[in-house]
């Protein structure tokens, strides 16, 4: 296990570094010089050269990369060429909002998928179980932002029970904070819940066919008790893998959902950065999102090994 952990950790570090090179190279391809853009067309060559020196863009690309990537390691994302403010604090502020959004969406998805998927598996021969499968198939076809628009229509326009958008920080008013996040959580969670339901169903179905479950029942446990005690842990192995993939999907889905509900998260920051041509900001946010996806994959792989002793 330790050896596996070390090897997997090395892969994580290496991929993050290579991803950093890719993101940096991509942005460095950009036509145009940030110093020239910042000063406008009437700038003197001397002024441009001075600003270039200040930005550090007069140095070799490799030196620029090492400086940028080295800075990332201790949370320094550089200073925006456009707004002249440090990027790191903006990202950390927004990261919290997005993390709460994604985790809430995950909780909603799990709260839907585990009971429904298990139910659909246990009752896979009767109409209700089949109906759950059919509804989940439709749920998969609805993108999170469309779910968001539909939810706004039902709960904000028709029922006028929840706000159609906006965000209230928890420190300001916890009640309003919760109200502002309910619909975004549901938009992310309902769709992923539909996807997850299918996986939970097929995982539980597989487990139900296993000999050890029959043995447990033969030893006098009821079928629910046997499933609860022996089945769910085994069924959780494939589900955890999908959950990890979904966490990454949710993170990207959050970018779009933040736009629907006007929530100041990382996605909002990213899109504002693109609109304002603040490329160092875009570079920083993309790097954080990619690193998050890599980290999620790492955690999933490790969790997989912990859950399944056969893999050790």
């Amino acid at each position: 296990m330790t050896l596996y952990l070390i090897k997997r950790l090395a892969v994580l570090v290496a991929s993050t570094a290579v991803a950093g090179v890719v993101v940096f190279a991509f942005m460095a391809l950009l036509p145009g010089d940030p110093a020239e853009v910042a000063l406008g067309v009437n700038a003197t060559p001397e002024a441009v050269a001075a600003l270039r020196k200040q930005f550090g863009t007069d140095r070799a690309p490799v030196a620029q990369f090492l400086d940028w990537f080295g800075g990332l390691l201790h949370g320094d994302f550089g200073t925006s060429y456009v707004t002249s403010s440090p990027i790191g604090p903006q990202i950390t502020d927004r990261l919290g909002v997005t993390a709460v959004l994604v985790l809430g969406g995950m909780v909603v998805a799990l709260a839907i998928a585990v009971p429904l998927g298990t139910f659909a598996a246990v009752h896979h021969r009767n109409p209700l179980g089949a109906a759950i499968s059919a509804v989940s198939q439709v749920g998969i076809a609805i993108p999170a932002f469309l779910a968001g628009i539909l939810l706004v229509f039902v709960f904000a326009v028709q029922a006028q029970a929840l706000p159609s958008g906006g965000y209230v920080p928890i420190a300001e008013n916890p009640g309003e904070w919760l109200r502002s996040l309910l619909l975004p959580w549901l938009s992310l969670g309902l769709v992923q819940g539909a996807v997850l339901t299918r996986y939970v169903r097929s995982a539980v179905l597989d487990v139900m066919r296993e000999d050890y479950l029959r043995t447990a029942r033969a030893k006098g446990r009821g079928s629910t008790g046997a499933l609860w005690r022996h089945g769910l842990r085994n069924a959780s192995i494939p589900v955890v893998t999908v959950l990890g993939l979904q966490l990454a999907t949710l993170l990207i889905g959050a970018v779009v959902v933040e736009r629907v509900f006007v929530i100041p998260g990382l996605g909002d920051l990213l899109l504002n950065g693109v609109a304002g041509r603040d490329l160092l900001l875009v570079q920083g946010v993309v790097m954080v999102l990619v690193a998050a996806v890599l980290l999620i994959n790492f955690v999933v792989d490790v969790a997989y090994h912990l859950l399944d002793p056969r893999l050790r």
Partner: protein, 277 residues
């Protein structure tokens, strides 16, 4: 044929057929010019030749949906094409030399690309080159490569242990000949199923990108942008969000059902390959 026609295949085929029909017909005929701005018909209610009404610029919703189907299919075909053309050979090579360094390299690069979702790639491409249908297609295509490579690799691994491959090798066939003559035809059905499923994901991605303004540019109609334009009018005219939303959901549902149906139709054993990959 090997399988039995099933419900998924029929319903999925019908829905996909409907999208294709709308797109093809839109080349010859739409009820109105989908990009024609007409202040007199601003937010017109359904009826009077405007089957589903008109948007805030007086453009006919039904005509926009028809031409939007074209955009959706165009992006899906190019994106899935990119993914299949790049991903399949990589997966086959990785599957034919499972213990080699090349296989290891391909799968590592694959994992890395996997960390760049279509949306991030499209935003990066958009920031550098300016967003449009082309950048969206390329981003979605590149982001789908890992899925194709993984599925192709898993299927190739299964084909490589069969007797006919052993026979071909014993007969002294070159690797490229084995790949083209024996491996590709036998993993074809897996790839077709993957293409259908990837198509559904590409439609979702294109809709999200157009919604964010990183996809198809105006005035070309696109379902995702129709939704984005409808959002501010959700209180007054919710039907403007209903139709493009329904179109996206039905198209995605169609390709997903078609994929599942094809899997069962072409080879029931395929369920296993996909589950393992």
């Amino acid at each position: 044929m090997r399988g039995r026609v099933n419900a998924g295949l029929v319903v999925g085929g019908l829905l996909v057929g409907l999208v294709v029909l709308a797109a093809v017909v839109s080349f010859f005929w739409t009820p109105h010019d989908p990009t024609l701005v007409d202040a007199a018909r601003k937010l017109q209610r359904p009826g009077g030749g405007y089957l589903l009404g008109a948007d805030k610029f007086g453009r006919d919703t039904f005509s926009q949906l028809m031409v939007g189907a074209r955009t959706t299919l165009y992006v899906g075909i190019v994106a899935v094409g990119i993914a299949a053309v790049i991903g399949t050979p990589l997966g086959v090579v990785a599957g034919m030399t499972p213990r080699g360094w090349l296989s290891e390299l391909i799968m590592r690069v694959n994992d890395l690309v996997f960390a760049f979702p279509a949306l991030l790639l499209a935003v990066m491409l958009g920031a550098v080159y300016g967003a449009g249908t082309l950048t969206a297609m390329i981003a979605i295509g590149v982001a789908t490569v890992p899925a194709f490579a993984r599925v192709a690799r898993a299927a190739t691994l299964q084909v490589m242990v069969t007797d006919y491959i052993l026979a071909a090798r014993a007969a002294g066939r070159r690797r490229t000949a084995i790949a083209v003559r024996h491996v590709l035809p036998n993993i074809g059905s897996v790839l077709i199923v993957q293409a259908s499923v990837s198509f559904a994901i590409a439609i979702l991605a294109e809709a999200a990108l157009s919604f964010l303004g990183f996809g198809t540019r105006p005035p070309t109609p696109s379902w995702g942008r129709m939704l984005q334009e409808s959002q501010e009018l959700l209180f007054a005219t919710p039907r403007l969000a209903l139709w493009p939303g329904l179109a996206i959901a039905l198209a995605v549902l169609g390709f997903n059902l078609l994929g599942d149906g094809l899997r069962d139709f072409l080879d029931p054993k395929l369920r296993r390959i996909r589950a393992e990959s």
